[in-house]
């Protein structure tokens, strides 16, 4: 048994680690992706007033505070039995769309894009946002920075504070939108639509028109036939802020659709001795280990899965691109629905389609006459004592579950964060990448780190929430051990 460890070397503690175990024949037996545990979150929260949670949970992570804030506020609506007025829900969703635009933009240009725009085998020093901008032009670099900053400005305006927003209250939102703000946001949304279309065109020109990249995207290197999860509206169209959780099976049939509050009837968490992270899986399918297929309860929750569970997109331009993506992958329609795409690298394309949808939805909401209504809050009159709220975080379905006593003081807290949903599939994709590079004891060191990084990068993991983080571009070390665990070779990248 040979072990290969890929270790970021900047952190002596608190880092993720990829372990590759080989069997006696020198083939990959298993791959584990381990991250250290963040401890004591529940203890930290129990005994606090429930209404503090939106401003506590949004500090879990510097990447998706908006997602935690929204899931938390929705959990409080339920815990205090206070249904927000329509305008409040629309303001929340409007802010949330601005957040999606920043998050997906950043991922494409700084994290996911470089693998394609620069090339999967380019040196790591060039595979970053600088390389992307050198290739596509300085003007686009400016557009990326502008896009982030105009949407951060909207988030700050609507949320009362940048990054760790403070606008959410049980039963609504703490401030209404003025007509001047509405006009400004409308302009931002229009620019976002142009920017999203333009980003899709870059993807088209650089990836889809390049035979080598297209083959990589459509190859079976990162193909897993799993179940898919996402939130849909009443017409089974993806919605990031609210709806029912829909799961489709690997053949595209709806397996179940349930309100977020019922998650415990459908999702169980598997604990493995070699990691602190729990693997969520579909309870009613069962745990078969890190395997794909109809009998394994492994599911993913990503931009790709959200599109896979949707019958269509709720906005016109995103719908055109949605159809084009499924057609490109040769997905057939059965009962009016496209069959799911199992190629994980299509996640990058799906993310850009979501960027376009978020931009269009932002414009719809900014043009909605009700968005400037002053009626943004229902004052809670009761304490129900249990609150479950969920939203689609960019990196998967995020659920907050609180229980309080009759005074509204928390007695228990459970979170299932976006990245955790994908922990099993991420490990599977890393294993698939490793299998392609290691066989019969022969190890293709060249490109190994890149291919393995690509496997987890496409899931856009945010481990600051799930546990702690793994750097987006990490100095890595591959340690190869023989069956007696002695190091026989080390591959390192600084």
């Amino acid at each position: 048994m040979k072990n290969i460890s890929i270790d970021p070397i900047t952190r002596l503690e608190g880092h993720g680690k990829i372990e590759i175990f080989l069997n006696d024949e020198g083939d990959v037996a298993n791959t584990y992706f381990q991250v250290p545990e963040l401890r004591g979150f529940e203890r930290f929260c129990v005994g606090r007033q429930a209404e503090d949670m939106p401003v506590i949970t949004n500090r879990i992570c510097g990447v998706c505070p908006e997602a935690h804030h929204m899931a938390s506020v929705k959990a409080l609506d339920m815990l205090f039995g206070a249904e927000p007025p329509p305008a409040a829900k629309k303001i929340r969703e409007l802010l949330y769309m601005a957040f999606y635009v920043t998050d997906h933009t950043t991922h494409f240009y700084a994290l996911g894009g470089p693998d394609f725009i620069i090339g999967p085998d380019a040196p790591a020093s060039e595979r970053n946002i600088l390389g992307v901008i050198r290739k596509v032009g300085l003007d686009i670099g400016k557009q990326v920075i502008d896009c982030r900053s105009r949407n951060h400005h909207v988030i700050e305006k609507l949320g009362g504070r940048g990054v760790h927003l403070a606008g959410g209250l049980p039963g609504g939102w703490s401030k209404s939108v003025s007509e001047d703000e509405r006009k400004e946001i409308e302009e931002v949304a229009k620019k976002n639509i142009d920017f999203a279309l333009f980003s899709l065109k870059i993807f088209d020109d650089i990836v889809l028109k390049n035979q080598q990249y297209l083959e990589l995207v459509t190859s079976d290197v990162y193909l897993h036939k799993t179940y898919y999860m996402g939130t849909v509206d009443d017409k089974n169209r993806v919605n990031f802020y609210d709806g029912m959780i829909r799961i489709v099976d690997p053949e595209g049939k709806e397996f179940v659709k349930y309100p977020a509050a019922d998650y415990m009837q459908h999702i169980a968490e598997r604990v493995e001795p070699w990691t602190y992270l729990k693997f969520p899986y579909l309870k009613n399918v069962g745990w078969k280990g890190l395997e794909d297929g109809m009998d394994s309860g492994v599911y993913i929750a990503t931009p790709l899965s959200r599109l896979n569970v949707s019958d269509s997109m709720a906005t016109p331009l995103a719908q055109e691109h949605f159809e084009r993506m499924f057609e490109t992958f040769g997905s057939r329609k059965i009962d009016g629905r496209y069959q799911p795409i199992h190629h994980r690298l299509a996640t990058h394309w799906a993310r850009l389609i979501e960027l376009l949808y978020a931009s269009e939805r932002m414009l719809e909401l900014a043009q909605d006459p009700e968005i400037t209504s002053p009626d943004v809050r229902r004052i809670p009159q009761q304490i129900v004592g249990v609150g479950i709220g969920s939203v689609e975080a960019p990196r998967g379905t995020l659920t907050h579950h609180y229980v309080s006593d009759e005074r509204g003081v928390l007695t228990s807290v459970n979170l299932i964060v976006g990245t955790t949903n994908n922990y099993a599939p991420m490990s599977m994709s890393i294993r698939r990448a490793a299998e392609k590079l290691i066989s019969r004891g022969k190890i293709a060191e060249e490109g190994m780190l890149n291919r393995i990084e690509m496997a987890f990068r496409l899931y856009d993991p945010c481990l600051s929430c799930a546990t702690h983080f793994l750097p987006g571009q990490m100095p890595m070390k591959v340690i190869i051990r023989n069956s007696s665990s002695e190091i026989i070779r080390t591959v390192q990248r600084d």
Partner: protein
């Protein structure tokens, strides 16, 4: 001269919040002043919760920046305060953002796009001991390092204890 002091970290992750705590202590000491008497010297104090491009954004428009963050090098005792330049950066805990890029790449991006970035950037790292437990309290040695770091940074920036620019 426009100076920004940035406290970096997660405010609810025990010692990871030390950079934020130092920046708050500096704010108390200086007061959040705008312009100093008759000169165009200003100091702004910010808290930033993620590295990479957000950190670069926070420095845009300043001539001088000072970043305070927790680090885990294992090379010095918990509570040790170390100053270094970005080019010798071994990486403090939050300079890197998992969702975009590291600080040096973000700075290079800003320069490439002709953004106004500080010509002087100083980084202060404070060796931490617990960065994986949720708590708003620092561990003892790190708590004791806060005034040390405050004095070191103010000394470096040529402020006396009353916070007057000397």
């Amino acid at each position: 001269m426009k100076t920004v002091i940035i406290g970096l970290g997660n405010p609810i992750l025990t010692d990871d919040s030390v950079g934020i705590r130092v920046s708050r202590a500096i704010r108390q000491r200086l007061g959040q002043r705008g312009e100093a008497d008759g000169r165009n010297d200003t100091v702004d104090i910010k808290e930033v919760y993620a590295g990479g491009i957000r950190l670069m954004d926070a420095m845009t428009g300043y001539d001088r920046a000072c970043i305070v963050d927790a680090m885990m090098t294992g090379r010095s005792r918990p509570g040790a305060v170390t100053e270094f330049d970005p080019d010798e950066l071994c990486g403090t805990r939050n300079m890197m953002c998992t969702h975009d890029t590291n600080l040096s790449t973000a700075l290079e991006l800003g320069r490439m796009l002709n953004m106004h970035l500080p010509s002087t950037i100083k980084i202060w790292g404070i060796e931490a001991s617990d960065v994986t437990s949720f708590s708003e309290q620092l561990t003892d040695e790190i708590e004791r390092a806060v005034p040390v770091a405050v004095n070191a940074i103010l000394g470096e920036l040529n402020f006396d204890a009353q916070g007057e620019i000397s």
